[in-house]
């Protein structure tokens, strides 16, 4: 039986090709995602701490939610460790040496780098290749990469968070991959930092790390050497894994959904075309079990093969994908993919599993084939919408409705997901929802003329065929349309709110894209804004599994630079542990003025915060306003992301870029576009699958319709009449698909009025027209191209008996 299946597979390679290509794409996506995740999850390695045995730092994990919904988030940089802690650790029995380590972000001749204390150089080790160690506060050692072109003894201008320093280079160390390093005396470095980030320990053999953990308690973490680089705030790999996972997970998950649906259609079609073969096997004495096994083994093999191709594809593609994610800012700089076998397994399993899941419907239909059908010459299966399919379709539609209603307060964010649900539902029920309108259209146009008559009849009787093609067209239009409109709407809201909020005449930002030393804002008396985040621990306030974006501001500087539109309380009370929250946050969690919130700061440090003001204009800035000093103390990098200046900004400072108000909004636009790019990376895969589905079902529909058209030609229809009939059918099918897609977009955005972040609905004309044109082009190409290719086949080919 297996051999029979295999032989069938070989002779039917052509019809399986469509399914194979789509499965291979899914497997490639999943295996690439697997490679990326495996690379991100891999033990971060010792990094700069190769010579240390253990690294101790303050707790870096924040636990949000409870029970099943619990999420543990690791912050990029934990709270500072005091000098006293270093001494205490050094005095422990078994500890040979304890070195306080720190990283301060600086900029040297336009290049981002990190300052460390000289004792930490031995931890890597960074070895002097020239000159000597720093001894005075104004002396510095550079790695060979940063030192490029500077000689020992010369002066170097270093932009530090505490201002510009002119330092004398006393030596050069060999450079290390991934990061650029400067070394100052420990005291000078600590003055910049305000404390140590971590303590690296060298211990005697047999030292009990677990006992140390117990002794230090839950406030501290002890990392083995294999994970030590996580404690290096200067290591780009220590950056947010959460966002990377969210993007990969969302993209991969939704792609798999679409894939199962699309491949299911293909495999069902192939199985339908094999009814006579199955009937013959059954007549020859094949049991239903044997038929089921044959169909499952066939699809599993196709899936496995596609999985293998996908794994190969992933090896080629993962690097490109990693670059793309780095470019849009989701993956950290220097993120590279190191292939891991588990991703291959995941790819193979994904290909096989998607194929098997997709074949379930086909197998059910295959098992319904009666052996007696082999006796009947032209066994045309009567197609009806099966109960399983109907239930699945209704479930998908119900899911969409639930999303739109339950999450209407966040409608823009969930519009694409809702559109996906609706589109899958509509496509599942397409013979009903799209086939009937097409049939109606067919009756309207089929009134006179031979071509119109043929097309009308074809549309009216081929509801399943028409639905199978129009469904994916609707899917493409719905996904792309919902994406375009929700991004534009969200972007416009940010633009509007920002325009109302920002009143400064000039805005200073760092030309490198990093931040500005706080000293600049202080000197100008301007509004320095520290972009950071805050975790709120109350369940109602947890903001899903993410931190709330927050801004550190000095309230007394706001006049004439930022207008937050305060609704309650006063911003002047934002000091100490007093904070302001946005109306959105206040409404989401029922927070009132004077409430005390239990929070963890960006460095995971615990803090109780008191709400002293509620403001309106949060979009594009953050839902929490912290006192700037508090924000600087806990921020991953103690820098201002922007400085808002009233009147003329007279500043002479390297790395500072001065923007007019108009320039600032232009920069904001391009930032929004970067954000949109991330969403398009995710959507691109789904769109690719949906577009493939259009072509695939177009080809299947053409193959199914062909015998009828050949018969029509035998009955005397001219080639021109057939071509016109096909064109009319293609136009009607595409039109129904596009209208369906547009309807889905409107349905998925129905809740946008409740989304406080959305403002008014924005339909970008150019992009919307592009989406419609994309749907039309795909639809017409997908239906007419296969028809044209098949039409070349000989007219004399048997019309009824062969498949």
């Amino acid at each position: 039986m297996l051999a029979i299946g295999l032989r069938t597979l070989r002779t039917r390679a052509g019809s399986f090709l469509g399914a194979f290509i789509m499965l291979a794409i899914v497997a490639t996506v999943v295996a690439s995602a697997g490679q990326l995740m495996a690379s991100a999850l891999r033990d971060p390695g010792p990094g700069r701490f190769a010579r240390a045995d253990l690294v101790v730092r303050a707790q870096s994990e924040v636990t949000l939610g409870r029970g099943e919904a619990q999420e543990i988030i690791s912050v990029p940089r934990s709270a500072r460790v005091s000098d006293a802690t270093v001494t205490k650790l050094a005095d422990l029995p078994g500890v040979e040496r304890a070195v306080g380590d720190l990283s301060v972000p600086v900029s040297v001749s336009g290049r981002d780098a990190h300052v460390h204390g000289w004792p930490a150089a031995a931890l890597t080790p960074y070895r002097l290749t020239e000159g000597r160690a720093p001894r005075m506060a104004d002396e510095v050692v550079l790695d060979a990469g940063v030192a490029h072109g500077v000689h020992v003894g010369e002066a170097v201008r270093v932009v530090t968070p505490a201002g510009v320093r002119t330092l004398r280079m006393t030596g050069i160390v060999a450079r290390q991959p991934l990061q650029s390093a400067l070394f100052m005396t420990d005291r000078a470095a600590r003055e910049l930092s305000g404390g140590y980030d971590a303590v690296a320990l060298t211990v005697a053999p047999g030292f009990d790390a677990q006992a140390l953990r117990t002794r230090l308690g839950p406030g501290m973490e002890v990392l083995p050497r294999s994970e030590a680089s996580a404690a290096d705030a200067g290591n780009p790999r220590a950056l947010a894994q959460e966002e990377l996972f969210a993007v990969i997970g969302a993209g991969g998950g939704m792609t798999i959904f679409v894939a199962i649906f699309v491949v299911a259609g293909t495999i069902t079609f192939i199985t339908d075309r094999r009814r006579r073969e199955i009937a013959l096997l059954r007549a020859m004495g094949a049991t239903p079990g044997q038929v089921r096994r044959m169909l499952l083994v066939e699809t599993a093999l196709v899936g496995l093969l596609a999985g293998a191709v996908g794994c190969g594809g992933a090896l080629l593609l993962a690097g490109t994908l990693a670059d793309a994610l780095t470019n849009v800012g989701v993956a950290p700089e220097g993120f590279t993919v190191r292939p891991h076998w588990i991703a291959h397994v995941v790819g193979l399993v994904a290909g096989t599993l998607v194929a098997l899941l997709a074949s379930l419907v086909a197998v059910r239909r295959g098992l319904k084939v009666r052996p007696g059908e082999a006796l009947v010459a032209a066994a045309v299966p009567q197609r009806r919408l099966g109960p399983v399919r109907a239930v699945l379709g209704l479930l998908a539609l119900g899911g969409g409705v639930t999303l739109v209603i339950a999450l209407s307060h966040d409608a823009t964010a969930y519009a694409v997901l809702a559109a996906l649900c609706f589109a899958l539902g509509v496509a599942t029920l397409s013979p009903l929802l799209l086939g009937h309108p097409a049939a109606l259209l067919g009756r309207l146009i089929g009134a006179d003329g031979a071509s119109r008559f043929l097309a009308g009849a074809g549309l009216a009787t081929g509801r399943f065929r028409v639905g199978a093609v129009a469904g994916p067209i609707a899917l493409v239009v719905a996904l792309a349309g919902a994406q375009v409109i929700s991004i534009a709407t969200a972007g416009e809201a940010v633009r509007e709110v920002s325009a109302a909020r920002v009143q400064a005449d000039h805005v200073l930002v760092a030309s490198s894209g990093g931040g500005l030393p706080p000293e600049i804002a202080d000197r100008l008396g301007a509004t320095g804004m520290v972009a950071t985040e805050v975790f709120l621990l109350d369940r109602e306030l947890s903001n899903g599994s993410s931190a709330w974006p927050a801004a550190g501001l000095d309230p007394e500087t706001l006049d004439g630079t930022l207008d937050l539109d305060v609704r309650a309380g006063s911003l002047t009370d934002v000091r100490g542990d007093g904070i302001a929250v946005s109306t959105r946050l206040a409404e989401a969690g029922d927070v009132e003025l004077g409430a005390t919130l239990s929070a963890r700061m960006a460095d995971a440090g615990p803090r109780r915060l008191r709400v002293v003001a509620i403001y309106e204009r949060a979009l594009g800035m953050g839902d929490i306003v912290l006192p700037r000093a508090l924000a600087l103390e806990h921020a991953t990098a103690p820098l201002d992301s922007a400085v808002f200046v009233r009147g003329h900004a007279d500043v002479e400072f390297p790395t500072v870029e001065r923007l007019t108000r108009a320039d600032y909004f232009r920069a904001l636009d391009s930032e929004l576009e970067d954000g949109a790019q991330v969403q398009w990376v995710v959507a691109a895969l789904m769109l690719l699958m949906a577009a493939m589905a259009v072509f695939n079902s177009g080809a299947m529909a053409a193959a199914e319709r062909r015998p009828e058209l050949v018969l029509a030609r035998l009955a005397g229809a001219t080639r021109g009449q057939i071509t016109r009939a096909q064109t009319i059918e293609a136009l009607a099918t595409t039109a129904v698909g596009i209208v369906g897609g547009v309807a889905i977009v409107m349905a998925s955005l129905a809740g946008i009025g409740n989304d406080a972040q959305a403002g008014t609905l924005v339909v970008p004309l150019g992009q919307t027209a592009f989406v419609l044109a994309l749907g039309a082009t795909l639809g017409l190409l997908g239906t007419l191209l296969p028809a044209a290719l098949l039409g070349r086949a000989r007219l004399t080919a048997n019309a009824g008996l062969r498949e």
Partner: protein, 241 residues
């Protein structure tokens, strides 16, 4: 002697409600072992349904179908499939062969489905019997219609079934190929003692049988032993076919 196949008050309808079509109404028929029976009747008279019910390809709504000792209406799908492998052979009008298997592989298909590894020469012997020993490795697409039909007959032989069902076996063949196929079927009855039930439109084909049963509107209306082609044709004309 016990008949090879016995149908007792078999009824079968297709469709539901108003659109239901009664294909067989209370038909009782016996096919003696070692006999060659032709079933004739106008289109839609229930010929093919009768054949399907008798062969266990379809289940009647009511009535009983016995093949040898077995009551088919009580068997599970799996047991029915096993019965078709061992007890029954089929020859159809068209699409008899799996296009992806060679002639020899098609011939041993019933054995393979039963999990047997066919002995060397089994397929060759069966193909020799139908005069196609040299075409064993050809795919169906490389054979003529008459040759394909003979491969199908070889396949019907290979499991040595007691009963062979043929549905319009000559329908798609030219006169000469038809004559060859019919002669082959006849020899299976005369030389091997098998039972054949054949549905046909063709009076010449029916004349090869021992007996002709005429169906109309799902009922047995007549039968004729030792049929002659002209008498069969005249009877068919009277039935309005």
């Amino acid at each position: 002697m016990r008949p090879a196949i016995a149908l007792t008050t078999v009824s079968r309808s297709y469709g539901r409600g108003d659109s239901a079509v009664r294909a067989l109404g209370n038909v009782s028929l016996e096919f003696p072992a070692g006999s060659f029976t032709a079933i004739m009747g106008p289109s839609g008279s229930g010929k093919t349904t009768l054949l399907q019910c008798a062969a266990g390809l379809d289940r009647p709504d009511s009535g009983s179908v016995r093949v040898g000792e077995l009551e088919l209406t009580e068997l599970s799908e799996k047991r029915l499939a096993q019965l078709r492998r061992r007890e029954v052979g089929f020859v159809f009008q068209s699409f008899n062969l799996l296009p992806s298997l060679t002639a020899a592989q098609n011939v041993v298909l019933p054995l393979r489905l039963g999990g047997q590894r066919p002995k060397r020469g089994t397929a060759r012997a069966a193909l020799d019997r139908v005069g196609l020993g040299k075409r064993a490795r050809h795919l169906p697409a490389e054979l003529s219609g008459g040759q394909q039909q003979r491969v199908a007959i070889a396949r019907a032989l290979v499991a040595e079934p007691r009963v062979i069902f043929a549905d319009e076996p000559t329908g798609a063949l030219d006169t000469r190929s038809a004559r060859e196929a019919l002669a082959l079927l006849r020899s299976l009855v005369d030389e091997d003692g098998r039972t054949i039930v054949m549905v046909t439109h063709d009076p010449v084909a029916a004349a090869v049988a021992d007996r002709v049963v005429f169906l109309a509107d799902g009922q047995v209306v007549d039968s004729m032993t030792a049929p002659r082609a002209d008498a069969v044709a005249a009877r068919m004309t009277a039935l309005g076919a």
